[in-house]
């Protein structure tokens, strides 16, 4: 099998998955949770049966003149109410207003995030991502004694985060799934995931090159990818099984996080042989052309 002889095909495959996400990112961006936008979130559980449209809740918030962002059902007789920034007293007033409308309720969760903190989270995420990218590039470069491995590994890594970002942009548009501080963690994990896998493939290329220094890069890559494919698939299956269990059966608050990790795991596995290695081949080709 010579999987990589027409390696440019894989660039097209990647673009096929990347473009809808990128389009959605540019057009709609991400549906940001209050961790990023600032504002307040109130999750309540009530006893009365008010129907799925939860109009009463909406009315109560509007009567209070709080800027309502959204009301969303979060389980049976449970709702998440998102508003602009309200303080504790305003929250108590809102709960009172809600209780006169629908009877007794319990507060499951109340969160309020100031605008300065939310901006900071974005900054810190970008810095952390940049730092991880830099450290990994230097580490891989050092371990493989070739800059192209480091750079291509990091490109594959960004490919994966971009797919994850794009997916969540689409999920935000269609399913109103928000990104929060856990999503940031998922992105950073995907980075390490992706690199973990890529290094295994690169390591095989390095080993083969030591044994057969004369062999063309493309032939080395073909053997390396084929030999590591078994391991890659088996390994991913175990991680994906784990995450799938978490996604399907885990608690509500962890579900979207598990989904993000799941997408990261799938694209992280795919990108090692089919993005990172083709990029190395392309780099090699250009270098030879220049010479």
């Amino acid at each position: 099998m010579k999987l990589l002889n027409h390696y440019r095909v894989f660039f097209i495959v990647s673009l096929f998955f990347l473009l809808p996400g990128i389009y959605s990112l540019l057009k709609h961006g991400l549906l940001l949770g209050i961790d990023f936008t600032g504002g307040s979130l109130l999750e309540v559980k009530y006893e009365s049966n008010i129907g799925p449209d939860q109009l009463e809740l909406k009315q109560a918030v509007e009567e209070k003149n709080y800027s309502l962002v959204s009301i969303q059902s979060s389980g049976q007789n449970q709702a998440i109410i998102r508003t602009g920034h309200i303080d504790n007293q305003q929250k108590d007033e809102l709960i009172q207003a809600l209780e006169t409308k629908i009877g007794k309720l319990t507060v499951l969760r109340f969160e309020t995030v100031g605008p300065s903190l939310s901006k900071e989270l974005l900054e810190k995420t970008l810095v952390a991502t940049g730092l991880v990218a830099l450290i990994i590039t230097i580490y891989v470069w050092r371990q493989f004694k070739d800059l192209k491995f480091g750079v291509c590994a990091v490109f594959a890594m960004f490919h994966d985060s971009l797919i994850l970002l794009g997916s969540f942009s689409l999920l935000g548009v269609f399913f109103k799934i928000e990104v929060d501080v856990l999503f940031v963690t998922a992105i950073l994990t995907t980075l390490s995931f992706s690199i973990h896998d890529t290094i295994v493939v690169f390591d095989r290329i390095r080993e083969l090159r030591r044994q057969q220094p004369r062999l063309e890069m493309i032939k080395l890559a073909n053997i390396a990818v084929l030999e590591t494919l078994n391991r890659s698939v088996n390994n991913s299956v175990t991680i994906i099984l784990m995450l799938l269990a978490l996604f399907l059966l885990g608690g509500e608050s962890i579900r979207h996080f598990a989904l993000a990790l799941l997408i990261g795991a799938v694209t992280g596995t795919y990108s090692s042989p089919f993005v990172a290695v083709p990029l190395v081949l392309e780099w090699d080709r250009w270098k030879r052309k220049i010479k």
């Binding site: 504790n88 507060v107 371990q143 940031v184 390994n235 996080f257």
Partner: protein, 473 residues
């Protein structure tokens, strides 16, 4: 290849380590009762806690998981301290003082395992307060969020004695206090919350009446001694945010910085007063940046489901390994049990706070721990395909797989370190959730390396030896 005696020795120690970790990780309590010679005897054992008495040296520790706020429910408040009036150099100290004050107030309320951390981001000085179990936010905010400035002021021309005594008796909530003291000349003495170390409820040794006890620091002691010496008989008002809290009279000079305020308080009143005094001892004004309240029911439900999901996932992964790798898969599964036991024990020993992302990190790292085994087994398969004898193939497989395992795991460790941010860089995340995830990931990867490589390898060597190459593993 090391000889079999060495392998056996290693396995012995590994077994011991495993038993110890299992003892700590899985709490079980069992009691057997049996009938011996007509007498009922009871024998019991309990794991998960240590209770040793070695030659008079008592060692007792109960190993428990630390649960994060998102699991057990509670309140997190992020406060920002206004440092505009504090010298640049003194700011870290002022922040620490504010944290200490809040900790003290929180302790006073008897909340289990509260945490008050300080953090700095650029010019913003912050306090992150976590109050497990407190899911009434108003109460929490009253506890930590009050921006109170405490001041001791000398009342120079007191009104008639009668009035003052009444004021004292009526307590702090009486609105008439400020009106009645308006004709008094207030003389600041430069003594405030900054110098007040603590206030607490105490009881008069002779009468048994509740009193409020104040303790000043060195600086405050000096001022207090000076003022009480010169103004015995005068009234030293205690003002919180400009309104009088108490108007006690100085009966004797107090030189040791330990003042006792007597009055006809009830225990409740005295307690409340000392809490307010403690609140007032906060040296810098603070404001609320962020607050999160998680109802315990939400977290608990989520955790139970997630743990169940994790166990089911683990079961499926074990089954998968068994199907794909046969007997070797069984070994890997066994290594996985050792891994889980070591990990959980370590969580308990070093006190890793379990948060939802932390659990996700744990589950993820289980996946990565399996990976090390898969890499090795695939390598062994390859070597076998090249017609190498099993023993050689095994050693080669471990050796060759090690390179990629090492490089790949170092990369993951580096990422985990960025998430944990151990050096507390202000430009990186300091959120407890992200850190919790990073810590579990780091522990997972390191222990995964250990069990995946050391445990499985020695087990395989041992089995190879006992089967003496006759049977194919």
């Amino acid at each position: 290849m090391p000889n079999i005696a060495q392998t056996k020795k290693r396995l012995f120690w590994l077994g011991l380590l495993f038993l110890l970790s299992a003892f700590i990780a899985f709490p079980v309590e069992k009691k057997f009762s049996f009938n011996l010679l007509g007498q009922t005897r009871e024998l019991g054992f309990k794991t998960g806690s240590l209770n040793l008495d070695i030659f008079g040296l008592k060692l007792s520790r109960d190993f428990q998981f630390k649960q994060g706020l998102d699991i057990r429910g509670g309140t997190q408040v992020i406060l920002e301290a206004d440092m505009s009036t504090v010298e640049e150099l003194d700011r870290p100290e002022a922040l620490a003082a504010a944290a200490a004050v809040i900790s003290r107030r929180v302790d006073f309320y008897g909340i289990a395992e509260p945490s008050v951390q300080t953090a700095r981001f650029g010019e913003s000085y912050r306090l992150i307060v976590e109050l497990p179990g407190v899911d009434d936010q108003t109460q929490a905010l009253d506890l930590v969020g009050q921006t109170a400035q405490l001041e001791f002021v000398l009342l120079k021309q007191p009104p008639a004695e009668q009035t003052v005594q009444e004021v004292t008796r009526q307590g702090p909530e009486d609105a008439s206090v400020s009106a009645e003291t308006q004709n008094v000349v207030l003389e600041p003495i430069g003594l405030g919350g900054k110098q007040l170390k603590r206030a607490n409820l105490a009881f008069d040794q002779q009468t048994g009446a509740p009193t409020v006890q104040l303790e000043f620091d060195a600086d405050g002691r000096k001022i207090f001694a000076d003022v009480t010496q010169k103004n015995t008989g005068e009234i030293l008002g205690i003002f919180l945010d400009g309104s009088p809290l108490m108007l006690p009279r100085i009966s004797t000079p107090i030189l040791d910085g330990l003042a006792v305020i007597t009055g006809q308080f009830s225990v409740e009143e005295a307690k409340k007063l000392s809490v307010q005094l403690n609140a007032g001892a906060l040296p810098v004004p603070i404001k609320v940046l962020e607050q999160r309240i998680i109802g315990a029911s939400l977290g608990q439900n989520s955790v139970e489901k997630s743990i169940k999901a994790g166990l089911i996932g683990l079961g499926i992964v074990s089954l998968f390994m068994l199907v794909i790798y046969g007997k070797k898969g069984l070994l890997a599964d066994f290594a996985l049990i050792v891994y889980a036991s070591l990990t959980l024990a370590l969580y308990k020993i070093i006190g890793v706070t379990m948060t939802l992302p932390g659990i996700a990190g744990l589950i993820l790292s289980i996946g990565m721990a399996v990976d090390a085994n898969i890499l090795i087994f695939e390598r062994i398969k390859e070597e076998l395909r090249k017609d190498k004898p099993l023993v050689i193939a095994m050693e080669l497989g471990f050796g060759k797989a090690w390179d990629s395992i090492k490089d790949a795991n170092v990369a993951t460790i580096l990422t985990a370190l960025v998430l944990i941010n151990p050096a507390n860089f202000t430009f990186l995340n300091t959120s407890g959730l992200v850190r919790g995830f990073g810590v579990t990931l780091l522990i997972g990867v390191v222990l995964g390396l250990f069990t995946g490589v050391v445990v499985t390898r020695n087990l395989v060597r041992f089995l190879l030896h006992t089967h003496a190459n006759k049977e194919k593993l």
